[in-house]
Amino acid sequence: MCAVEQLVMERYRGRWVGVDAAGRVVADAEELDELLDSLDAAGIVGATVQRIPALDEPLFVGLR
């Protein structure tokens, strides 16, 4: 897994992204299932999936 570059990250805040081994965003979507569908439809294998948080989102410290 390769970390997303900070500058690239800024473009995708608030969205789910698929990242390849080089740290490039290869797909993005509003929701997780939409992203997974998009990656599969494009024939992409082995993308690492995460959501880039918006800058004003609170820091997660645990579910209650």
């Binding site: 993308a47 820091l59 997660f60």
Partner: protein, 146 residues
Amino acid sequence: MPECWAYAHVDLGEPHLPDGSIVGRPVVTVAPVDSAQILLAVVDSGSPISVADARLFQRLGIDTERDKPLYDVPLTIGGGDGRIPVYAVELILVPPGTIAGSPVRWSLHLGARTRWHLPFAVLFGQRGWFDRFPTTIDATTTTVEL
């Protein structure tokens, strides 16, 4: 001696702390069975259960609208009280990129949480993770005993 996989903490793009330091999360990599993609999952010893974005469950073979859960648990969701359904699922633990190990498949109980706005798809807690994988977390690394 059991095999161990070490995962470096990951900056998920969360805003830096006021002193400028990054937020490094204890992350492991997992995948639904037969999936071509890899999901980031945070390991949290303070969470009694494991939960995930409800939108993942179709990939796990679960229809959260129709399938009956094993049970449900109360959880504060978006400032309101609610109960989340918990299902029996299977996941695959994917080795860190630095290790050429074979993925490990296991069964767990996983809660389906709607309105998921976290920077990772799965949160592993005591049930579903720590009861299967002895895990040590320090300031930089999560070490998982297989």
